[in-house]
């Protein structure tokens, strides 16, 4: 088990700058020279670069995963190799860490007000408690709140996957709630296929849907598509935050769910989803599938080289439609 305050975040930094200065991924740097195609005017670029790349993004703007302790008062980076015994973050010894102890005592105080027993609120307890005892639990979901920050992330060839979520093979994630409802969202791969999402039309609350029925509409600039529901059930809630500020989904598709379902047959639905290692293997297969795109005019072709284009605008209309048809539930 790792410390629940051991966090990972994607940060950007300028590789050309003599000192590494990290910029959080969600910071608005869209007006900076780094991204708007004017990076050749940047003094740091001019000092080190020999030629411009064909991308709008500066080739020296790099992205890395940063590890940090969210319990520490100031965001403090943790070296990537934490096998050193000086770090308690990984393994059961994190409970000995002073910062963890402070946070734990804070939580304990809150739980006492609820007449809870602190020993039930060990980090990640809620994951163990997946048999969903909550209706009879006196602690009112405090365990989940205590572990809110604990997100177990995997990166598969540049695409993010959250362990602990269920995945439908057309790139939707489902998170099982303690009340047997399922929160549904778009996974990182699906989000990258679509490009920047500029609008969303979510269904009415309490609406009953069948599997395969049109569920919601997503708008990406001039393009739009209707996503079909992979499961049958009732729409319990929709994420109103998204309707107010759609940019949230572009920042983190896993943080922003779209619909909370009361599924008609939860057990059957979960059987049809990928989970854990199976989900990782499935995503690896789909990344491969993206490279082995079927080109109907010359048969099946395989390409060697390059990364997935970050600016989907570069993909023409028919190719975008083909990608969406192949990888999303339309």
């Amino acid at each position: 088990m790792k410390c629940p305050y051991f966090e990972e975040e994607i940060v950007r930094f300028c590789e050309a700058y003599p000192i590494r200065k990290e910029i959080p991924y969600d910071s608005n740097i869209s007006n900076s020279l780094c991204l708007d195609g004017n990076y050749t005017k940047c003094s740091e670029f001019q000092k080190v670069a020999r030629r411009a790349s064909d991308s709008k993004k500066c080739p020296f703007l790099k992205e890395v995963v940063m590890r940090y302790c969210s319990a520490y008062p100031v965001k403090k980076g943790i070296p990537f190799d934490i096998s050193d015994n000086d770090y308690l973050c990984k393994g059961d010894n994190f409970v000995k860490c002073d910062e963890y102890q402070k946070k734990f005592k804070e939580g304990e105080g809150k739980m006492e007000k609820l007449h809870g027993d602190a020993k039930y609120f060990q980090p990640n307890f809620w994951k163990v408690c997946r048999p969903r005892l909550c209706p009879n639990c006196p602690y009112e979901g405090m365990c989940v709140a205590a572990s809110k920050m604990a997100r177990d992330v995997e990166f598969i060839d540049g695409f993010m996957l959250i362990n602990g979520f269920y995945y439908y093979d057309k790139h939707l994630w489902f998170d099982l709630g303690r009340d047997d409802t399922l929160r549904m969202g778009l996974d990182d791969f699906g989000k990258k296929i679509l490009g920047e999402i500029t609008g969303i039309e979510l269904p009415e609350k309490s609406k009953s849907v069948d599997a395969g029925e049109v569920l919601l509409r997503i708008i990406c600039g001039d393009r739009d598509l209707k996503l079909r529901s992979p499961i049958a059930g009732e729409v319990k809630r929709t994420n109103s935050k998204l309707e107010k500020d759609i940019s949230l989904i572009n920042e983190d598709p896993y943080e922003q769910w779209m619909i909370r379902f009361a599924p008609a047959d939860l057990e059957e639905n979960l059987k049809g989803f990928y989970y854990g290692e199976e989900a990782q293997k499935w995503l690896e297969r789909d990344v491969d599938r993206l490279r082995y795109r079927v080109e109907s005019e010359v048969g099946v072709t395989v390409a060697d080289g390059g990364a997935f284009v970050q600016t989907v605008d570069k993909i023409d209309e028919s190719e975008w439609e083909n990608l969406v048809k192949e990888f999303l539930p339309v």
């Binding site: 395989v302 390409a303 080289g305």
Partner: protein, 161 residues
């Protein structure tokens, strides 16, 4: 460079390789916005110019290739088919602002030709990072992999030759 590629093909696939006359890159292949050429269009042109008695054909071009979903490609091949195309554009040290290195370019081109012809024999990407059939998304990965097949891919290709 072409002669080197010819030797590489002959020694790897135990065949006779012939250098053909060059063909024009189709004008329609150019994507002005990306300043790159659509690989599939060039592959189609190569297929159109393939003589009937040819078992496999690989087109070598100096233009920068792309397929819509990828930022660039070193090459593209028909899986279990006849034709492939390879670009030397990003195999050349000059692309990376470095002095020309003809030997290195020849080595990289040889790897990519063998890789793409491997696809035309039905081989898919290999998980072995040293195998020539390993997928390369950067020039570094092209340099890391060797210019020959791993044991598994060798067995597979031997059955097909």
């Amino acid at each position: 460079m072409l002669e080197y590629s010819q030797d590489k093909i002959e020694e790897t696939f135990f065949c006779t390789a012939k250098i053909m006359d060059s063909i024009e890159v189709p004008k329609t292949a150019l994507n002005a916005e990306r300043k790159q050429y659509l690989s599939t269009s060039i592959l189609k042109a190569v297929i159109r110019h393939t003589p009937d008695d040819t078992e496999k054909i690989v087109g070598i071009t100096s233009v920068d290739l792309f397929v819509p979903v990828l930022t660039f490609i070193f090459g593209q091949a028909q899986l279990d088919g006849k034709a492939a195309v390879v670009s030397i554009h990003r195999l050349d040290q000059k692309f990376y602002g470095l002095p020309e290195d003809v030997d290195l370019l020849g080595l990289r081109l040889g790897k990519e030709i063998v890789h793409e012809l491997g696809h035309t024999y039905g081989l898919v990407h290999c998980v072995d990072g040293n195998c020539v059939m390993h997928f390369s998304n950067s020039i570094m990965q092209v340099d890391i992999k060797e210019d020959k097949f791993c044991e598994t891919c060798t067995r597979e290709i031997t059955e097909k030759l």
